[in-house]
Subunit: 401 residues, 2 copies
């Protein structure tokens, strides 16, 4: 008998009816397979808990994780009750009961070890294991959490540990789309894509999967499926690139409005100056994405532009202002009115002209490019936020998606 | 250094301000003592979780306990954060982390073992332990709960395990009163009373303490104090009867409106008939309190009246109806319009006339007595519910409370 892991997010466990819908989905698979269901907390619950922590300005990670991981305890209990009502032998398990051993990094812990012998033991008397996502335990016996969206990672990690046939990630959309259907109504569901493409999609703004979970699936060559808990259609399979018969040159267009642009003007153009800026950023755990450095015409003063996540806006501002003694720049500006638009496709590696087509399309729509970054299978540009929709729609069209 | 256990209920952790108030109380004691704080879930939280279980008609005790015990995880995390903010070294612990080992009786588990060496180990690096009340773990590794009000029992059990100097139970009242101040404004706070008196008070309706916690304190000769978290006054001390210099003849009047009266009429008066009825009740886990059996005048048919908890009303009705074949009674009536009024006092043991005074007082107020039950230190009568207030007030007066 094979094992299948099914992960359901907060909206899929939000109320009695939705939990009963999961029972239906599990019922269909349980005759043929051993099932591990991984759940998030009921929708809104983790936000409520986070609000308590914010009220107390919590800087205590042991306590924060204790509070944050309480929500899954409720959802797994309720689903297990509902499964048993339908005669399905089910066992609810918290992270520490498995145990899911993690490192010490509270609020963003990494899974170190899951003992598949223990899981097999649990399956001796049960057909379904209902596992709390998002949580683990460290070697000191403290509860840890994997960070927001961490239930995807729990699902992929447990699927890898038991060598599951595949890991199904149930969401409220039918799969991964060529772009956001809310912007472009012609967006199509992608039936199959590579881990690398999914990684680029996630990291450039598509909110379907937790990036870490895709990395982990890629490492373990685990088949992922993103599908809807409300329809019976198959979703998007995420697989090794060798499984893709024909590689799309561009398989999707993604966008992110969570970026902020930072421009440091009039800084002395001497060796080591950008190293100094970016060390400051990294010391403060600020992730820097695109970087543009304009070498000055006179060779003395330069401008440096880079992007950060909007959540780091205030921190970045104060770090740069507090270090102007050392950096000695003329002016600093931060701008949230930007968006990052990305085109992604495995075929790009072997095909030229993709970038050219992108720049031409944007130019035709009079959209100015503020910064560019590329990888082997992705081109991202930074533009004015107000052009997001037109950029996404025109790129979606020009690449025949 | 002595250890003091402090227990705070749901209303004392209901919001940020109330949690900060606990920090103040702990701060005062932490210089002189090692402190274990035992917490309930935030007010309303356990009710909300119980409602989820009711929606699913849960009959699965492992799951029910998993769901019900999630609330304390939040309250202990938040208090520990607040304590650390004030520079107090605090450690939050869940039941399984201590561990508090219980038996297998989910939803009403009994504590079997708490290892005080482990607690002492935790105190090596911490001045305060913030412990989740109400919960434990059984030998199979499943989370158990001690039943509603179980946090009192957790507090007494841990206090006994570490041989604490005393266990302070913080509530929203200033202590145990001679009767309910909502009914009789002249009710006075009792400064010291015996375990036995407190037990009778709890089991006859006073909602101050979980009965099991008082039994456990008595068994371990642990000093309990019931006091308010909002005033600085000392509360009611509950101690061994030998510590009481003068034993009050009647120390309190309590009442309960949770009773229902069951009358089985026209049943054949033959040996073993009441045994049959009460076996049926006990097989169905229905607690029977007062019993009145009227031997019939003709010696053939009898009436049997007894009281049950209102929560067992429907169950009792159906059990008796379904067994009329065997019991063969003429009629069955159940009545929720009753109240149990009790007078309690250690001095009763050595003093006569207490019952007479009670019956006279009720008669003077034209209150009919439907049933009577007594113990060495308690007399309870069942009356029509509408006379509750007048009965309580007049008894409170006649015994000079």
């Amino acid at each position: 008998m094979n094992t299948i892991v099914m992960k359901f997010g907060g909206t899929s466990v939000a109320d009695t009816d939705k939990i009963k819908n999961i029972v239906k989905i599990v019922s269909k698979e349980v005759k043929k397979n051993k099932i591990i269901v991984v759940l998030s907390a009921m929708a809104g619950e983790t936000d409520k808990l986070q609000k308590y922590l914010d009220d107390f300005k919590s800087q205590n990670s042991i306590e924060s994780d204790l509070v944050l991981t309480s929500g899954e305890q409720v959802s797994i209990g309720l689903l297990s009750i509902a499964l048993k009502k339908e005669g399905i032998n089910s066992l609810p398990l918290l992270g520490w009961q498995v145990p899911i051993i993690t490192d010490d990094n509270h609020e963003k812990a990494k899974i170190l070890k899951i003992d598949n012998k223990r899981i097999n033991k649990f399956f001796e008397n049960n057909d379904v294991i209902v596992l709390a996502g998002f949580q683990g335990i460290n070697v000191n016996g403290n509860i840890t959490s994997l960070g927001r969206g961490g239930s995807d990672t729990t699902a992929v990690a447990i699927a890898s540990a038991v060598e599951a046939e595949r890991c199904d990630i149930y969401t409220d959309v039918e799969g991964v789309y060529t772009t956001d259907p809310n912007i472009e109504k012609n967006a199509k569901k992608i039936s199959k894509m590579s881990y690398e493409e999914m990684l680029e999609m996630s990291s450039t703004g598509a909110k379907v999967l937790h990036t870490r979970s895709v990395e982990l699936a890629m490492k373990n060559n685990l088949i992922l499926q993103v599908l809807s808990s409300l329809t019976k259609k198959s979703g998007t399979f995420i697989v090794d690139e060798n499984e893709l018969i024909e590689k799309e040159i561009v398989s999707g267009v993604s966008y992110s409005k969570n970026e902020a642009k930072v421009t440091i003007s009039g800084i002395l153009d001497k060796p080591g100056i950008s190293a100094k800026i970016f060390s400051l950023m990294s010391e403060n755990n600020i992730n820097v994405d695109m970087i543009v450095q304009n070498i000055s015409q006179d060779g003395i003063l330069a401008n440096i532009t880079f992007t950060i996540n909007q959540k780091d806006y205030n921190l970045t501002k104060s770090v740069l202002e507090n270090n102007n003694n050392e950096l000695d720049y003329k002016s600093l500006s931060l701008d949230k009115n930007v968006a990052k638009i990305s085109v992604i496709g495995m075929g790009m590696m072997s095909q030229s002209g993709v970038a050219e087509k992108m720049f031409k399309t944007l130019a035709k729509n009079a959209i100015n490019i503020l910064a560019i970054s590329t990888s082997e299978i992705k081109i991202s540009v930074l533009i004015d936020k107000k052009y997001t929709n037109i950029a996404v729609k025109s790129l979606h069209e020009v690449y025949n998606l």
